[in-house]
């Protein structure tokens, strides 16, 4: 009997570029490690326009954590009448995960999005700047913020190797899409428990582009 994370398989990956970020996942849902029961199980969830969460690990906990986060972020936005900030969101997620320190949720989340920084320009007007923001967590809520790429899931070792080799900083949207897709595709070809389709979302401050990748279905 392998690790509990290998029960359903799956992986997620996030990368940052110049004024854009991208998040990608595979689409497999496995059962009992080697049997594939769905090729349409996405692991990327939108929290609000500038916060996307990727959840890999045990599928039941992926669904549960997603519902918990959706509840908490909606409640926050209703009570405080303000869109939740990404740094606040990552702290909230970290607390939720740590509150189950002794019976953890078996998920490895990543959070990808934009941090909104307010400045005043020379006329005294407020100006918003969108700064790419990536964070990875372990199953009990340790945050690690980086500025290049984040990976999680059963394929994380393969993904680390590929991202380290292929990552180029400050790419534009198209270059970022190519890089993240190639990293993900090559990693999926080396893992039995992930693959069977992949999905990539490229986020910019004003739009999101979602693409499905054609992968090997074995």
């Amino acid at each position: 009997m392998g690790s509990i994370f290998e029960y359903n398989g799956g992986c997620v990956l996030g990368m940052s570029g110049e004024g854009c970020v991208a998040i990608a996942c595979d689409l497999r849902l496995g059962s009992n490690r080697f049997t594939t029961i769905s090729t349409n199980f996405t692991k990327i969830f939108k929290m609000n326009d500038h916060i996307y969460v990727g959840l890999s690990g045990l599928a039941t906990d992926v669904q549960t954590i997603y519902e918990i986060l959706r509840f908490r972020i909606n409640l926050y936005e209703i009570k405080n009448n303000i869109k939740m900030d990404i740094e606040c969101f990552t702290s909230m997620l970290s607390t939720i995960l740590y509150s189950n320190r002794f019976s953890p949720y078996f998920v490895n989340p990543i959070v990808v999005g934009f941090k909104i920084v307010y400045n005043t320009d020379e006329h005294g007007n407020r100006v918003k700047t969108y700064v790419p923001f990536l964070t990875a967590f372990d199953l009990i809520g340790a945050k690690s913020e980086t500025n290049n790429f984040v990976v999680n899931g059963v394929t994380s070792e393969q993904l680390f190797g590929l991202c380290e080799s292929f990552y180029i900083s400050n790419q534009d949207e198209n270059g970022l899409f190519e890089t993240i897709s190639q990293c993900l595709l090559s990693a999926l070809d080396r893992d039995c428990l992930s693959g069977w389709g992949a999905e990539v979302l490229v986020l910019t401050p004003d739009k999101v582009i979602k693409k499905k990748l054609k992968t090997r279905m074995d």
Partner: protein, 243 residues
């Protein structure tokens, strides 16, 4: 009661080991075993839940079936080490001799070594008796060898298929010492998916193109559903025309 049994097994094991020592030829390989009284217990201990060694998972799909024009053998080509894909280009069909093919499922090292060892034994048989060996005899030799090593942690699921003086024959040989004759076999983690395709569309009176398509389809669906199978589909086809 327990100590009494252990002593008995002890004696039997020593007897076996002594016999092996007497019959050593120069070209026979000696295998090192754990230096304890009952080497099989070491393997049983290593396989237990706490340690989980030697629990090889037969991550593969192999199949073979007989039809009116001969035999089709089809395999995938993925080798997995746990959840990591070690290779997508493995040869899982081994030519034991010109008339007999063996497939590889389970531990790659085990299958490869013992099938090639069988090839050596068969060559000696053919030189001594001046006749081609039958598939039944080859499978008996192999299953007896594997039974000798029962409990030592071998993991093989081998489908031997070939042509001899009685016609086309197929046998499934196992690391537990099982030997079964039949017309249709599939082995490995993807075998359940391959069986479902084969059982729905198999009949003995297929022609060669239909049989090849059936085998390809079965392996394809197994690679789709099973994480341990994938890569390329490789097929060998014995038929009357190719002998």
């Amino acid at each position: 009661m327990t100590t009494c049994n252990e002593n008995l097994i002890d004696e039997i094991d020593n007897l076996i080991n002594n016999e092996e020592e007497e019959n050593i030829d120069n070209d026979e390989l000696e295998f090192c075993v754990a230096p304890i009284n009952i080497p099989r217990n070491f393997i049983k201990f290593a396989k237990s839940d706490n340690h989980n060694l030697f629990n090889f998972h037969k991550g593969t799909t192999t199949l073979a079936f007989k039809f009116k024009d001969g035999i089709i053998v089809a395999v995938d080509s993925r080798a997995s080490m746990g959840s990591f894909i070690a290779s997508q280009e493995v040869q899982k069909i081994i030519e034991i001799n010109k008339n007999i093919l063996g497939t590889m499922a389970g531990g790659a090292a085990d299958c490869f070594y013992w099938e090639n060892y069988l090839g050596r034994i068969i060559k000696i048989y053919e030189l001594r008796n001046n006749e081609k060996i039958s598939v039944r005899a080859a499978s008996t030799i192999l299953s007896n060898i594997l039974f000798q090593y029962k409990g030592y942690g071998l993991c093989c699921g081998i489908i031997l298929s070939g042509y001899d003086h009685t016609g086309f024959n197929m046998f499934y040989v196992d690391d537990e010492g099982k030997k079964v004759e039949g017309n249709l076999f599939s082995c490995g983690s993807g075998s359940t998916y391959a069986y479902s395709i084969l059982d729905s569309n198999y009949n003995f009176n297929l022609n060669v193109e239909e049989a090849v398509e059936l085998a390809r389809n079965a392996i394809y669906h197994a690679t789709f559903r099973d994480g341990g199978s994938g890569g390329k589909i490789k097929m060998n086809n014995f038929s009357h025309f190719n002998i």
